[in-house]
Symmetry: C2
DNA sequence: CGTTCTTTTGAGACAGCTCAATTTACGTGG
DNA sequence: CCACGTAAATTGAGCTGTCTCAAAAGAACG
């Protein structure tokens, strides 16, 4: 099996590890594949393994009792799909569903913990990843309590563009099937408000969006909206 | 200096550490004291040390460009005041201000990292703590996007009661100077809405609140509001 | 070329915010 | 211990951003 080593060199989890150690860690991983739309873990379930995406995209979300979805993150190649439950042995706080055909490396919880004892760098990297998540979440909490919908939506698009953006002739395409509903669930609003705002932006030449696709034509203007540089 | 060892046995950071190791870690700590109201760290500043509260209460918050505060957490004895920046070497994502006279143990960033290499249990505990924060933040994001103010306020009070609640004759007192403004900043609303809701709850015998004080008379009813058990 | 899912758009409702004006509680100093 | 000043809390009134619900139009796919 040819490992996608270029990508895994960049994976935050392995950053700074000596090549030899990295190989030792990779040697213990299994490969798992998920079809588009397949559920990978369910909220409040025990998982028992650490999953690191190598291909595809995974939607991480929480479900409320009355059926609302809140999307917390879209994980792409090089990112962990399930990390915390494997590190702490607790159940998952989120559900994960593959958006596209996805592959991942999998380590058994116990195995990975043993690896962390052997290679302390792994532990530091895990902490750094959790730290990034914490910062992102803190930012979102601040945005949700102090900013209005339009700005939050702008931030969501900018975050997505940074993470999954692809340069095209028209601008930056967010390379992911992304409905208005999904955008709403990432921004803390409703599908209707998201649709109206995107329409308005389309009129102003800021974005160009179709069915489950968004291209940012003018990242600059979007930043202006997100950061309130206009008035 | 007599260490408050009972408390430090419970501190999540030292959980499960052999007594001997714990002593070795504690031996490298300095004690720092902060007056009520004193600023401990500022957002976006480098910190350079890990701070573990042993006494008092610390408000952790973010400030928005237009001056709004968003309170992310109130840290009490046994909890870390500054953790992530020391672990990753990055600047702090939050500001910290002592609510009361506060004491803390302090380790230099580099020293603590060395201790983590020596005692891997420290690293696992750090991960567990970060994990708890992540779960709390995820919950808040979900609440902010799907629940209305009254319920969020109920949850805020319940969280505070769980963490800092003191049983009294009238109910559970939240042992902390806590204005309507602060409650609003923890719940994602305004001081006015918080005030109105508390008044209504007072009328229904759910809480009894005075100036910067809240006592929960009927935790049961508050849970009913938070969890929507009523209708 | 009908079926299904996504998106758009309209109209109305309302939760919660804003702003202003009091009232209440506390601490301090005379 | 009282009077005063200050900060917190309450309350009213009006406004509006955003949600809700309904309906129709557009896009994809067998």
């Amino acid at each position: 099996m040819p490992l996608p080593s270029q990508l895994l060199l960049q994976a935050s989890l392995f950053r700074g590890l000596p090549e030899q150690d990295r190989q030792a860690v990779l040697a213990q991983a299994r490969v798992r594949d998920f079809a588009a739309g397949q559920f990978i873990v369910h909220q409040d379930e025990l998982v028992g393994e650490l999953l690191l995406a190598t291909r595809g995209r995974v939607r991480l979300y929480q479900l409320t009792p009355d059926g609302h979805q809140v999307i917390l993150h879209i994980a792409g190649p090089g990112e962990a799909i399930v990390l915390l439950p494997a590190l702490t042995g607790e159940q998952s706080s989120v559900s994960a569903q593959a958006v596209e055909a996805t592959s991942a490396l999998a380590w058994d919880e116990a195995d990975f913990r043993a690896l962390m004892r052997r290679f302390p760098g792994l532990g530091f990297n895990a902490i750094a990843i959790l730290g990034e998540h914490i910062r992102l979440y803190q930012d979102r909490i601040r945005e949700l309590t102090t900013e209005r919908v339009e700005r939050r939506l702008a931030r969501t698009l900018l975050r997505l563009a940074k993470q999954l953006g692809v340069r095209t002739a028209q601008g930056v395409l967010i390379d992911l099937p992304l409905s208005r509903q999904h955008l709403a669930e990432m921004s803390g609003t409703t599908l209707y408000s998201a649709s109206r705002i995107l329409r308005a932006w389309e009129e102003h030449g800021i974005v160009s969006s179709g069915r489950e696709r968004v291209t940012i034509r003018s990242p600059h203007k979007l930043v202006a909206i997100a950061e309130d540089l206009q008035r």
